[in-house]
């Protein structure tokens, strides 16, 4: 079995992960998009691919094949696991403040470099007596940036005590470890903070620095400062290559394109593809302390996966049988990329990558995929059990298809914690993901005496399978359209979202639905 881990990156984040994995006897390959010249001593024996541009990623956990373009030549490497540890990129907010980069109007990173080099220069800030740091004016900033600004102020104070620091901001982002204390230290060191709420400062570039005019929000006075230098804050983005990696590996991304979707079920370093983790500024902007924590978590994740790969194969993953016509539907719908094309075109499921959501079983047109809990027989049996007998007084029979991870848990909470009691005619059908419930099951429920059908799924952005909840919504709206076309009350079918800890809401949803169905009366499909 291959035991290699391929690390994408060529900066501190990648080196930290590599050094930690070496402690666990992992074989490492580092793939750098540029070329690495300053490799740390601990990584000297590591294979380094320079100028490696990822163009393809195939396989699953334990057996990935990565294809690179290296200066026009194709290069392939096999690895059991991969870590995306690319560095992020920083973009100065000159536009936000209507400024252009100049000798006296510079970005925070540039300023930090000048400060670092200050020891070697005799007069790094000659002719400068005041510096204004502009941060979070208009757009929200971040504690990572504030910490850098405050550290810069403190350094500046010791290197050039005569220079005055102004910090202009809206919301001072002290929500990071030790920042409130540092805020007070900078104030004691003479830094002047100006916070804006209802007004905006006017910032105009001048020959030597800039002119800032503003209203003091406490006194109402118009004021003007003329710092000799303006330092502009920055925002973070993933590098274009990090975005390319996410695209080639078909990973979910967040709104800014970082290689990890903003989904709480991916905490801390996981992606939607088992065996591929992401660490450091490849997944979000970070402080140096976060770099270390992320590399620890990435190394821990890979080490845990290695142990899991050595244990017996899970026997509960999806299986593709010989009814498969190789239409590739499953390959397209699997959120975890667990379905692979083997030599000869046959498809199989990589057991360790399968998360057992069942979306493939629902979409396969040949019903060629089996998975425990997802077969038509099992779901139909759940629908048909406990169907109430006809009573004199109408009690609606409700079938609620519940995602096992959210709505089913919420139902259990409602039952256990003396929340409002549930309708007597409620039948809960638990499924691995509500996204597998389509027209067939909905009709099957109506045929089995249901007066109303609920599909209860996770909130948008909270699905373990990424898009199972969206699929559930789509299927219900298609089914509703169908019911309407055939002249059946579409009000008898509803989709709602819930989380595992929403017992009370579960009770409210099913009780409200019972009321609605009571008003509608028995379903016309009842025999």
């Amino acid at each position: 079995m291959i035991n290699k881990t391929l690390i994408f990156g060529s900066g501190p984040s990648a080196y930290l992960v590599a050094e930690k994995l070496i402690l666990e006897d992992s074989e490492i390959i580092i793939a750098a998009h540029g070329s690495i010249t300053d490799i740390p001593a601990a990584l000297e024996k590591t294979e380094i691919l320079n100028n490696a541009d990822l163009i393809a990623c195939r396989g699953a956990i334990g057996a990935f094949t990565f294809t690179f373009d290296q200066n026009g030549k194709t290069l392939m490497r096999e690895a059991a696991y991969a870590v995306i540890a690319e560095e992020g990129e920083r973009y100065p907010n000159f536009d936000e403040y209507g400024l252009n980069h100049g000798e006296r109007i510079i970005a925070l990173s540039t300023f930090k470099t000048v400060l670092t080099d200050a020891d070697n220069q005799s007069e790094p800030f000659s002719g400068i007596s005041a510096i204004a740091f502009l941060t979070g004016l208009g757009k929200e900033s971040d504690p990572v940036i504030l910490e850098e600004i405050m550290d810069s102020c403190l350094r500046l104070k010791s290197a050039c005590p005569h220079i005055r620091s102004y910090i202009l901001t809206e919301n001072l982002k002290v929500g990071g470890a030790g920042l409130e204390l540092k805020y007070r230290q900078t104030k004691e060191a003479g830094a002047i903070y100006m916070k804006f709420t209802h007004t905006h400062p006017e910032i105009l570039p001048a020959e030597n620095g800039c002119v800032i005019t503003f209203t003091d929000e406490i006194t109402g006075d118009r004021c003007r400062i003329t710092p000799d230098m303006a330092v502009v804050d920055e925002r973070f983005k993933p590098s274009p290559y990090a975005k390319q990696l996410a695209r080639v590996m078909e990973l979910e991304t967040d709104a800014l394109g970082f290689a990890q979707s903003d989904n709480v079920h991916r905490y801390i370093v996981a992606t939607n593809r088992k065996g591929i983790v992401t660490a450091g500024p490849a997944r979000m902007f970070q402080t140096p302390a976060d770099y270390i924590s992320d590399s620890d978590n990435a190394a821990l994740a890979i080490t845990s996966l290695k142990i899991r790969m050595k244990s017996p194969l899970p026997d509960d993953s999806a299986l593709i049988n010989n009814r498969c016509t190789q239409c590739l539907t499953c390959l397209r719908v699997c959120p975890f990329h667990a379905i692979q094309i083997q030599a000869g075109g046959k498809l199989n499921v990589a057991p360790q990558a399968c998360e057992c959501c069942g979306l493939c079983t629902a979409e396969c047109p040949e019903h060629a995929i089996t998975l425990k809990g997802c077969s038509a027989a099992e779901i139909t049996a759940q629908i048909r059990s406990d169907v109430p007998l006809e009573e004199d007084v109408f009690t609606p029979h409700l079938v609620a298809f519940c995602c096992e991870r959210s709505a089913k848990q919420a139902a259990e909470m409602a039952l256990a914690m003396n929340m409002p009691s549930l309708p007597s005619g409620l039948r809960i059908v638990a499924v691995p993901c509500a996204g597998i419930i389509g027209l067939e099951y909905i009709l099957s429920a109506f045929q089995s005496q249901a007066d109303g059908v609920l599909v209860l799924t996770c909130h948008q952005g909270n699905c373990h399978s990424g898009c199972g909840n969206i699929s559930a919504h789509d299927k219900v709206s298609q089914a509703s359209a169908f019911l309407e076309t055939v002249g059946f009350e579409k009000e008898r079918l509803k989709v709602k979202t819930l989380a595992a800890n929403m017992g009370h809401d579960f009770a409210t949803i099913v009780n409200d639905f019972e009321k609605q169905i009571s008003n509608l009366g028995p379903s016309g499909l009842k025999r």
Binding site: L181, R184, L415, A416, M417, H459, Q460
Partner: protein, 407 residues
């Protein structure tokens, strides 16, 4: 590694995450929890999603708790505290003070009869999650029997005969290789603040609102149980406060308050919500977008109120200095929510003594180890979000594993 044993102090989200991470590496973990329930503070939080998840992480705690309670390899000591720690041939010997399981977890079916019929106010407590088993625990401080009265109603009404109040506390000794301190935090108690907490019924803390939303999905006035239409959130109560020497931002309260404000406003659009604050702190990756959306729903006042009074009709009057008009302004609310800060755990001093740890000047434990074989996870090291606490638990487990190789 399989023969190594780790003791985790604290059964909150950090402790649960650490236990699960160790278990995945095949290392045995035991959790010592001082209360009768696992889950810590975070299990008390409500889901704050509108139709969209707002990434508070509360559901993840639920999931971790379920995974831990379903895992037979993770040992759990409820109602237990560290008595002392000694060395024995390279291993540490820890003595635990254990309160008995007055409710036998093997017999209890979580039916709640004891809870419903207990005459002592709050003597039988209910857990916050159905994944707490037993879902009920006895609080000896409030139990009539333990305060000298002859009451055994709970023993009698339990259909499973699962309750036995005659048991005695005992000591439990365990040999372990490393300790992870995940003892969490204490929510600031704003008794000395001029906001009337525990004086006026309708002044509650953010933690109390979290519990209310978790249990009832709606913000009500505790005085009469009616929906609260006008709600004030007061931020930084006990945080960023030099008079208390609390020179830290609690980091999570802005996110918690803004998310709760948003979900209340979404469910009850007639709500009028005011947010008194100093500096709005970020909550997650997409804060810019989230904050812009919340700002449409709420009234922001960038100032902390001077005081809170109750009016003759039971409403609350909040006064603050309006910077724009330069005068004191009063607002009337049905419910005032104090966003109380995260402070060092109530027994962290005791714990530090017993484990020979040196806390930081703030009173929190250092995130980096100060004592061989003892590591810190979660809010014991300072204010953290749920996500931070999980990351910190991962880091503590990694440090533990590296340490175990050396011993």
């Amino acid at each position: 590694m399989e023969h190594k044993k780790i003791l985790i102090i604290g059964g909150g989200v950090a402790g649960l995450s650490a236990a699960l991470a160790l278990e995945q590496l095949g290392i045995k973990a035991s959790i010592v929890e001082k209360t009768g329930f696992l889950g810590g503070h975070a299990i008390q939080y409500a889901c704050k999603a509108t139709d969209q998840c707002v990434k508070c992480g509360a559901c993840v705690v639920e999931e971790k708790l379920k995974a831990v309670t379903e895992n037979p390899d993770i040992r759990i000591f409820l109602n237990s505290q560290i008595k002392n720690k000694a060395q024995n041939n390279g291993r540490s010997v820890i003595t635990l003070n254990r309160q008995p399981d007055y409710i036998d977890p093997h017999k209890c079916t979580d039916c709640g009869q004891c809870y419903a019929q207990c005459p002592g106010k709050g003597a039988i407590e209910q857990g916050f999650s159905p994944n707490n088993h037993p879902l009920y625990a006895l609080n000896a401080d409030k139990c009539l029997r333990f305060t000298g009265q002859d009451c055994h109603i709970c023993e009698d009404v339990c259909p499973e005969k699962a309750i036995d109040l005659n048991q005695q506390p005992y000591k439990h000794i365990c040999e372990i290789n490393a300790v992870i301190v995940a003892s969490g935090f204490k929510a600031f108690e704003p008794v000395d603040k001029p906001y009337g907490w525990q004086v006026f019924d309708n002044v509650i803390t953010n933690l109390e609102l979290e519990r209310m939303l978790r249990r009832q999905s709606i913000a009500v006035r505790p005085s009469d149980g009616l929906p609260a239409r006008r709600i004030a959130f007061i931020q930084c109560v006990g945080s960023r406060d030099a008079t208390l020497n609390h020179l830290w931002c609690s980091k999570v309260c802005c996110g918690s308050a803004l998310r709760m404000a948003r979900v209340i406003k979404t469910r009850h659009p007639e709500s009028e919500i005011t947010f008194f604050y100093m500096d709005a702190q970020n909550s997650g990756k997409d804060f810019e977008k989230f904050y812009a959306a919340v700002q449409n729903d709420i009234h922001e006042i960038r100032c902390l109120p001077g005081d809170v009074y109750q009016t003759s009709d039971g409403s609350l009057q909040v006064s603050h200095f309006d910077q724009h008009d330069r005068q004191s302004v009063e607002h009337i609310f049905d419910l005032v929510v104090l966003s109380v800060g995260i402070t060092p755990g109530s027994d962290s001093g005791k714990l530090a003594d017993r484990l020979q740890l040196k806390p930081e000047l703030t009173g929190f434990f250092s995130a980096s180890p100060t004592q061989l074989g003892i590591f810190t996870a979660g809010a014991a090291a300072g204010p953290m979000t749920i996500e931070d606490a999980i990351a910190s638990a991962g880091q503590a487990v990694w440090q533990t594993v590296q340490y175990l190789k050396t011993c």
